[in-house]
Symmetry: C2
Subunit: 174 residues, 2 copies
């Protein structure tokens, strides 16, 4: 399946979740067995040799790619969630939103020093969430070997928040 | 990996998310490559012949099993989410909580008449969420061929809300 076909499955939803936002609805990509398998294949191919110890996936659409990717690569999956969702002891990292801040958490025993981590989320927008997730992983002493997104909104320049790590996105929206 | 080993990875968190609840923390199962792969293997084996068209996964821990399962079975994945999270046109189903109600949604074009569906969530408690998810799938004319859970809290008798469908859970807590 070509990248154009996968890209064509993503639909724009105007004014979601609020007025003025054009939301990228990826559910048609998930629904297509061929598109979903192809995305996992592309993402995993880069890590077959330098295999990560863990896939760290960001709530909640990141779980959908992270889980299949972890299964494909034969590694474990570690969730990063919004504050208050993880049941055990956590550490947290915050980032600025347009109004206010958001806080993400990871279990404090989720990773050990030296673990190799592949970080995954569905969308790279401003990079705030990914930046916070990276800080959480590194606070625990683990090492990011790559950051993967399905869609990158390049006009928001989110890569400025992920300056030190290899970033890949399958579909780039200019 | 034996069922006892997988079961032993699940940890009890007292008073989460609120006083009096003992929460089953499954993150150590996800973190173990062997346990995670074994769970996906057990769940998928039942559906290798009667292959579903779609795995319908319930937000958000259901995504983690549903995605790897869909990838393993070569089918698409369709999310059921809490009200307000899905961007496109939806249909909804509500169920009673201890206080008030909760509402789940599915995209109205997510399934077609006759589609074979495997439904998945991480935990069977009272069965309210699963019951609502089944109603959503059947409202769209699709057919449930099985319902899979990692953990079943048997003392809550959640199967009473799923009377017509084959239900499997890997770990049963009495």
């Amino acid at each position: 399946m070509s990248m154009e076909t996968i890209s064509g499955l993503i639909r724009d939803i105007k004014d979601f979740p609020k007025q003025g936002i054009v939301f990228k609805d990826i559910t048609p990509v998930l629904k297509s067995p061929e598109a979903f398998a192809e995305v996992i294949e592309i993402m995993s191919t880069r890590y077959l040799k330098a295999k990560p110890d863990y896939v760290v996936a960001v709530e909640s659409r990141g779980f959908i790619f992270g889980s299949a990717l972890a299964y494909r690569l034969g590694c474990g999956i570690v969730p990063v969630r919004k504050k208050g969702k993880l049941p055990y002891q956590t550490i947290e990292a915050s980032y600025d939103l347009e109004y206010g801040t958001a806080t993400m958490e990871i279990h404090s025993d989720a990773l050990q020093k030296g673990d190799k981590v592949l970080l995954i989320d569905d969308l790279l927008a401003t990079g705030g969430t990914a930046g916070a997730a990276i800080r959480l992983v590194e606070k625990l002493g683990a090492r990011i070997i790559g950051v993967e997104f399905l869609v990158e909104l390049a006009f928001l320049n989110g890569r400025k928040n992920i300056p030190k790590h290899p970033v890949n996105s399958i579909i780039v929206v200019d």
